[in-house]
């Protein structure tokens, strides 16, 4: 397994090996799926759309539909206007969505397709049915990462659709970040428990966690409705979760509709969830019900019960920046030592943030943005860790390093199924993940310790 990996780190400036990120359009496609009645549309060669749909499907094990402009050589030379016009006509006639959310690809970006012009032209020529919307985001694959694409699509959704009537509503906007439907569902549950009226954008719960009913619906009941997005400009405030995935959208809404925002980390772990709840209750001026405090107490109790097993254990973590920040924070809370912390997404602020979180417990941690899993593996070969946390692509490293306990989180997870149903965020998410981490550590010990140290009770 990974037998070609060298323990000696050679500086690489041109070669990415085993990336910890992918390209922008898939993030834009995911964000668009969280708009009710929306057809994501990939403006480029049809391979991009096929790859993104396949990967999202493998992660969610749910239908993911999207359309494509199906560029061939002609469109690449003459521009994609004709393909876009044909696509829009077909999409509205055949699939009848409320919104078409177009994202670009490296192909349409390199040839310089002007999306706003194309959309305007189609509207002017009466090709967009009354009451329907076409929005777009520029998501060149050669800039940022899938997280950037997600962020830009959410931002542009607001830019295109949000408005302000002048009358402030009693609602709070929540931008949940690039998280799973289980996470969005959990954040909505917490808000409901607090009695706060919210609009969540995007919201893939009830879209990518559909029940088996024997009936397929192209546009399931979930997703943020256009009317709700339009009303986001009237909200009291915006609670933006995750610097990388949600900040730009919050800033856009502030700029466009003067809605103030608070930017917090993803609500992962005790403190992360505390901050989420504390910020939300202040925004909406509501008391926190006892049920939430009890839930918090149960998490704390679990941490105290488990802490002897977590204490001092070294962990390597990789994934998307907002997720990694939250998970690193959670690991510090339970007494573990984040030793190698990387993300594939570029951004020095990730490194500063992680350094701040681990400064007391792990001052010499290897922290790196714009890094890859190959590098992470090389560092692990030199600095032993007890646990690896990351997406599916970590499984080879875990096996190569003597079946290192490995807990999956984030995107994509293509070899397990629970993540679309069980959250990572909130007190409940933390409980679920602590249980998973302990299971992994104990399972390894149970398989490998000498017989005389094999414990019945722990």
């Amino acid at each position: 397994m990974l037998d070609g990996t060298n323990a000696t780190v050679c500086e690489r400036t041109a070669l990415r090996i085993n990336p910890a990120k992918t390209c922008q359009p898939i993030g834009a496609m995911y964000a668009a799926l969280g708009i009710h009645g929306c057809m994501p549309h990939s403006h480029g060669s049809q391979g991009c759309c096929a790859y993104h749909r396949s990967h999202l499907t493998r992660h969610f094990k749910e239908p993911v539909v999207a359309t494509t402009s199906s560029f061939t050589e002609g469109a690449s030379v003459f521009g994609g206007l004709s393909n876009m016009t044909t696509a829009l006509s077909n999409i509205f006639s055949i699939y009848d969505p409320e919104v078409v959310a177009v994202h670009t690809t490296c192909l349409s970006e390199v040839i310089g397709d002007d999306l706003p012009m194309m959309i305007k032209k189609n509207i002017a020529e009466g090709k967009i049915p009354e009451g329907k919307h076409v929005i777009h985001a520029n998501t060149p694959s050669f800039v940022g990462s899938h997280v950037t694409g997600f962020s830009t699509m959410v931002k542009n959704t607001i830019k295109y659709l949000s408005g302000k009537t002048g009358e402030t509503s009693d609602s709070v906007n929540i931008l949940p970040g690039y998280v799973d439907p289980s996470d969005m569902r959990e954040l909505k549950r917490i808000a409901a428990e607090l009695g706060v009226k919210i609009t969540m954008l995007p919201d893939t719960s009830d879209v990518l966690d559909q029940p088996q009913t024997g009936v397929y619906e192209m546009y399931p009941k979930g997703g943020t409705k256009v009317s709700e997005i339009q009303a986001m400009g009237d909200a009291i405030a915006t609670l933006a979760c995750g610097d990388f995935a949600s900040k730009e959208a919050a800033e856009e809404l502030e700029k466009k509709c003067i809605v103030p925002f608070s930017l917090i980390d993803l609500p992962i772990g005790l403190k992360g969830t505390d901050t989420f709840i504390d910020t939300l209750r202040r925004m909406a001026a509501v008391p926190v019900p006892a049920s939430i405090t009890l839930e918090r107490g149960r998490l704390l109790d679990l941490i105290s019960d488990m802490s002897q097993y977590f204490h001092g254990k070294k962990v390597a973590i990789f994934g998307d920046p907002d997720h990694v920040v939250g998970v690193t924070q959670l690991l510090v809370e339970i007494g573990m030592i984040p030793t190698v912390v990387i993300t594939g997404t570029p951004g020095k602020r990730f490194e500063r943030k992680i350094a701040e979180i681990v400064s007391k417990v792990s001052p010499d941690a290897h922290i790196e943005a714009n890094a890859d899993i190959y590098k992470l593996h090389q560092i692990i070969k030199n600095r032993k860790v007890d646990l690896l946390m990351g997406n599916t692509y970590g499984k080879h490293v875990a096996r190569a390093e003597g079946n290192l306990p490995f807990v999956r989180f984030g995107f994509p997870i293509m070899d397990r199924t629970g993540h679309r149903l069980f959250p990572l965020v909130g007190y409940r998410g933390a409980m679920y993940y602590l249980d998973k981490i302990l299971d992994q550590l104990f399972d390894k010990a149970d398989r490998e310790v000498p017989e005389e140290l094999f414990e019945l009770i722990q």
Binding site: D3, P25, H55, S93, V215, Y216
Partner: protein
């Protein structure tokens, strides 16, 4: 026999076709009409295939890069694969196709082999290279890859922006080949080059042929030496075929390109015969090898136990050795015992059930044999990226119009090798074979083997698939990951025939047994019967009394 003569509950097929088409805007309808054909096996009608997908249609198709790297060259496990482009293309094609690979197959008994398919290498192109060109970065990346891995060869793949910004990857490959002293093969397989993956197959065939095949003339040691072309070891299919060939005593020089090493590909022109599994992805190679080296080829199929037996017999007949012919019969007889036993077990569950298959460029045809053995009934089938010859047979090749998209793909001018051309068949032997009706370089296509009035649908769209399921209510659909959960939400199990849903192998005899058991499980799974909660069941006296029965029953 016509489909609705065997099943009176089915509506007339023309009505089904009309249901699929009537929603389309007129231009789209005109296009799709040519691609949805009511089958007549005796004289297959012309089908629109290998043409552009209509923009805005939800299609299964991918791109040229996917066909080149993902399908044909990507499975070669002991060379480094480097994608030149933004990160996505390399990332999505990283271990996402299930061509299984065993590192020890590359070691040739010497050192420990390394499975390079566990590594995704990319130049991770950024804005800087888009503006100023990416050749320097590519060159540096090759150097860094060399420093890191010291591979015996490297393959470089171009993605969409590379062609547009004008990077000359071939010049870079030549320079670095000279500098590092290893083979470096560059492929201009930008995603937009063709109408589907198919263009990528052709581009890959050309380069594998010119830059790999023929580099090593070492004579093979087996008595009968063959190549299997168009077999990619999905779920271990090639390993099952190897097992069978070991039993009958035929030496496989190379499999293109599943479970294969670079060295085997360089040496595969020394074989006596090419047999072709996936006609679509590799027929170019078979043709070129015949022209240059004199290796004859014919079509075989190891999907389906009967088909496997038939293919083995044909190969034995080609070699014409009584010992081999007898041995093949012995192996078939021995292997068929378990196959028949499994069929007896599953047929009561599967017989008469309907199935539809939309996949690939050969699987939608090959898998009909397996379903046929289970006495299931194919109501509709179609390919994702095939050409007319895969539907109508190679007889139509001269009449296929070469359009602008196909013209983009280079057609190599191949001549007989002045030294190594060695026709394996004498003229007399050829004549004998012809008299016996033994067909070389032929493929009859899918349509001739499908029932009358079944629907043949090329590049099926989401809408057509939905209609098809609504009307035909198949017991199982064979398709891919993008359709799987759509189909299953409709209450119909969907078997992924690209990844095998992480099961398999399905080739050969043992594969057939696996497949029979898997399909029997799928069409008899109780999951679909639990959809309606007890409190939503229509009220009836039977329901009332059943509520007092033990709850766990049937779970």
């Amino acid at each position: 026999m016509a489909l609705n003569e065997t099943d009176l509950s089915l509506p007339p097929v023309e009505e089904v076709r009309e249901e699929m088409l009537k929603l389309y805007p007129s231009k789209t309808r005109r296009k799709r009409e040519k691609q949805i054909i009511v089958n007549d096996p005796d004289s297959p009608k012309e089908i629109g295939a290998n043409t552009r997908t209509v923009p805005g249609i939800i299609t299964q198709r991918g791109c040229t890069y996917a066909g080149c790297k993902g399908v044909v060259i990507g499975p070669i496990g002991d060379v480094l694969h480097l994608t030149h482009g933004p990160i996505g293309c390399g990332y999505y094609s990283w271990l996402s196709r299930r061509n299984l690979t065993r590192a020890r197959d590359f070691s040739h008994g010497k050192e420990k082999g390394i499975n390079y398919l566990q590594y995704c290498l990319s130049t991770d192109m950024t804005e800087n290279e888009i503006v100023y060109g990416g050749e320097k970065k590519l060159e540096a990346a090759i150097e860094e890859a060399w420093n890191e891995f010291k591979p015996k060869a490297m393959v470089i793949y171009a993605t969409c922006p590379v062609g547009l910004i004008g990077d000359d990857i071939h010049a870079v490959a030549r320079r670095m080949k000279e500098k590092l002293g290893i083979n470096i093969v560059a492929l201009s397989c930008e995603g937009y080059r063709g109408v589907s993956q198919s263009a990528g197959h052709h581009i890959a065939n050309n380069k594998v042929f010119t830059d790999m095949v023929g580099l090593d003339d070492t004579k093979p040691t087996g008595k009968y030496n063959i190549n299997i072309l168009g077999e990619y070891n999905i779920g271990g299919d090639a390993w099952e075929i190897h097992r069978i060939f070991d039993l009958v005593g035929i030496n496989i020089v190379g499999v293109l390109s599943g479970a294969v090493s670079y060295d085997q590909i360089c040496n595969c022109h020394t074989a006596d015969l090419n047999v072709v599994m996936c006609h679509r992805s590799i027929n170019y190679m078979a043709e070129m090898m015949e022209t240059k080296y004199g290796i004859p080829w014919f079509k075989i199929n190891f999907i389906g136990a009967e088909s496997t037996g038939k293919s083995l017999r044909k190969i034995a007949k080609y070699f014409g050795d009584k010992g081999l012919i007898d041995r093949v019969e012995e192996v078939i007889a021995a292997e068929m015992i378990d196959v028949r036993a499994t069929l007896e077990k599953v047929k009561p569950i599967t017989t008469g059930k309907r199935v539809a298959l939309f996949v690939g460029g050969s699987r939608a045809h090959h898998y009909q044999d397996l379903f046929g053995e289970m006495e299931m009934k194919v109501v509709s089938a179609g390919y994702e990226f095939a050409h007319r010859d895969d539907y109508e047979g190679r007889g139509v090749l001269p009449s296929i119009k070469v359009d602008a998209d196909s013209r983009n793909i280079e057609e190599l001018e191949i001549e007989a090798d002045p030294v190594r051309y060695n026709p394996r068949l004498s003229e007399e032997r050829k004549r004998q074979f012809a008299e016996e009706g033994f067909a070389f370089k032929d493929y009859e296509g899918m349509m001739r083997e499908m029932n009358k009035e079944t629907l043949v649908i090329d590049d099926i769209s989401h809408h057509e698939l939905e209609k098809l399921i609504e009307i035909y209510k198949p017991a199982v659909i064979g398709s891919g990951i993008k359709d799987k959960y759509i189909v299953e939400k409709m209450g119909v199990p969907c078997k992924q025939l690209h990844s095998y849903d992480y099961g398999g192998p399905y080739a050969g005899f043992k594969g057939a047994i696996n497949f029979f058991e898997e399909i029997a499980r799928m069409v008899s799974s109780p999951v679909w019967s639990y959809v309606t909660a007890p409190w939503d069941q229509p009220a009836s006296p039977a329901n009332e009394t059943s509520s007092s029965e033990p709850v766990a029953e049937g779970l």
